[in-house]
């Protein structure tokens, strides 16, 4: 499968297979960037995979006060789900439980689009009749009285039905420490790319899965990439690979996902095989399930 080697790192001639998803974004602001980040971290907790969490969510970027509606530091969060109704439900629950509750936090639409989801319109009822609507600049905001003042929340946020979920890189190394180093370098590079998130813990997932199971489960461990099973199964791993980590990437557009994968690959190659990964691959389902195919050979630095 290896087609080429760049600076000592083997790159599989394969592709990441990704799917079309629904996505939205919100901007969370607070008096300090640490509280804005805290609200975002809480909101995006337990949002690693749509399989068990309902949505995939993460922090896209931190925003300078000049970039936010109210002139305070902020964070942009992206959420991805398989259906509009599930995305609406997840957005409402997560903003309601994690942003409304955070001291000094406010929440605004973080995505423009013709299609919209309810944001403040779904949360205003917490005001129990004391909520106040303000409309200016073509947007409606809700002011909900809370114990530290008011929770300000824009009425709506945008929805895209052409987001892409499931871009990925499989990072393979000679041990856990070096593989983590390569994955961390890739995640750091990906975090600088706009409109994408890596929803797993720290942007990295160690439990890559395949579709199906011998039990009643929709997904199970991808034994072909488990180094401890190398001799027991039809393994995809070489003799020198003892650890594999995956980075899953969701983006608002296919070019954004491609840019993130390209940035991740570049970071891995830059780190080199002595300090990082020996090989990089990508996960797919044979190309029959997802409409988006990101070939690694087209994304090389």
């Amino acid at each position: 499968m290896h087609s080429l080697t760049i600076k000592g790192i083997r790159i599989d001639d394969t592709f990441a297979e990704a799917f079309t998803m629904r996505a939205t974004g919100v901007v969370i602001t607070a008096d300090t960037v640490s509280w804005a980040r805290q609200a975002a971290v809480s909101m995006t907790g337990f949002a690693t995979s749509v399989i068990g969490c309902g949505c995939e969510a993460g922090i896209d970027s931190e925003l300078d006060p000049r970039q936010t509606p109210d002139g305070r530091p902020g964070v942009r969060v992206l959420l991805f789900a398989v259906s509009t109704s599930e995305l609406q439900k997840q957005l409402q629950n997560r903003v309601g439980q994690c942003v409304l509750t955070t001291p000094s936090a406010a929440c605004y639409g973080g995505l423009d689009g013709e299609d919209v989801l309810k944001l403040g319109n779904a949360l205003r009822f917490f005001g129990d009749g004391w909520q106040i609507s303000k409309r200016f600049g073509g947007k409606r905001y809700w002011r909900v009285p809370v114990m530290d003042g008011e929770f300000v929340c824009e009425a709506l946020t945008g929805l895209t039905k052409t987001a892409v979920g499931g871009g990925n890189l499989l990072i393979m190394g000679r041990n856990g420490e070096l593989t983590r180093a390569a994955a961390e370098a890739a995640v750091k590079a990906i975090s600088a790319v706009a409109d994408v998130i890596a929803p797993f813990p720290g942007g990295i997932v160690r439990s890559g899965s395949k579709v199906g199971s011998k039990y009643k489960a929709s997904a199970s461990t991808s034994e072909a990439y488990c180094p401890t099973l190398k001799g027991a199964v039809k393994s995809a791993l070489d003799a020198d690979i003892e650890s594999v980590l995956e980075i899953v990437i969701d983006g608002l557009t296919a070019p954004a996902v491609a840019a993130a994968m390209r940035a991740g690959l570049a970071a891995i190659v830059k780190l080199g095989p002595k300090r990082g990964a020996l090989r990089v691959g990508a996960g797919n389902y044979g190309g029959k399930l997802g409409p988006h195919h990101f070939h690694l050979r087209n994304l090389l630095p």
């Binding site: 303000k134 200016f136 002011r143």
Partner: protein, 270 residues
């Protein structure tokens, strides 16, 4: 294309209704055709050409020069384009506007922007009473858009305001924001007595206090609210002076408790 320019050469004998001279109603007409349009006044028949000398051909941009306070209903039911008036105007300028920009480089009479639904009105001088307010028998006043008065405003500014923003950079008369239903009224300089009289909902911001506050407004303390920052940022684009009223923590009064009581008056504390 050059803007359609109407220069007044004859002062009207009586009040003159200029509501036909809005871009939508002028669209497709030549200067000659516009000159023959009849304007409502007293018993005599008056055409546009009898009062104005016309030039230009872009009816989306109308300029009226040499205006006087006998010219009523300028920009009435305007839905787009721009009207710039050099001089004072009479009553009901911008009434029932649905879009576009109306710039009055002078003073405006009573009921300017009355019942306005959308668009932008700017009055560089003073405005008369009941800015944005309803006429007799109407249940709501201004329902959207933005009005900026660079000078003073008369009594009952924002009467029955339902939606939209009114900014007054000068002083406002008595009963500003009376019977407000919702919306926002920003008064940069001192307001007259009893602002917010019978207001149900909505927001009044007083940059320099008022002559007398109703006893039916209750003190809710001093706050630095995010919503005020948002509003200040939006107001600043139209009026840096008025935006300055938001820069200090504001004392919030809730009222008018003699009616629904879900309105609010913010007063600068600094």
């Amino acid at each position: 294309m050059k803007p359609l320019v109407l220069v007044m050469h004859t002062s009207p004998q009586q009040r003159l209704d200029l509501s036909p001279l809005v871009p939508l109603r002028l669209a497709g007409k030549t200067v000659a055709e516009i000159g023959k349009l009849e304007l409502q006044t007293g018993r005599e028949r008056v055409t546009v050409g009898d009062i104005f000398r016309l030039s230009g051909n872009d009816t989306t941009r109308v300029r009226i020069e040499g205006a006087t306070d006998r010219l009523d209903q300028i920009g009435q039911e305007m839905s787009g384009g721009e009207i710039v008036v050099e001089g004072d105007v009479g009553n009901q300028a911008g009434r029932l506007m649905r879009g576009g920009r109306l710039i009055i480089k002078g003073n405006a009479g009573h009921w300017a922007a009355s019942g306005m639904r959308d668009g932008y009105v700017e009055i560089t001088g003073a405005s008369g009473d009941r800015l944005g307010g309803p006429l007799a028998g109407e249940t709501a006043g201004m329902r959207g858009g933005m009005v900026v008065v660079r000078g003073d405003a008369g009594d009952r500014t924002g009467d029955r305001l339902r939606r939209g923003i009114i900014i007054v950079e000068g002083r406002a008369g008595a009963y500003a924001g009376s019977r407000m239903i919702a919306g926002t009224l920003v008064l940069h300089r001192r307001a007259g007595q009893l602002p917010g009289y019978l207001m149900r909902r909505g927001t009044i911001v007083l940059g320099d206090g008022c002559d007398e506050l109703l006893p039916t407004f209750v003190d809710c303390g001093v706050h630095d609210l995010v919503a005020m920052r948002l509003l200040a940022a939006f107001v600043k684009a139209q009026s840096a002076a008025a935006a300055a009223a938001f820069r200090v923590p504001l004392r919030r009064f809730a009222g008018d408790m003699s009616v629904l009581g879900k309105g609010e008056i913010f007063c600068a504390t600094g």
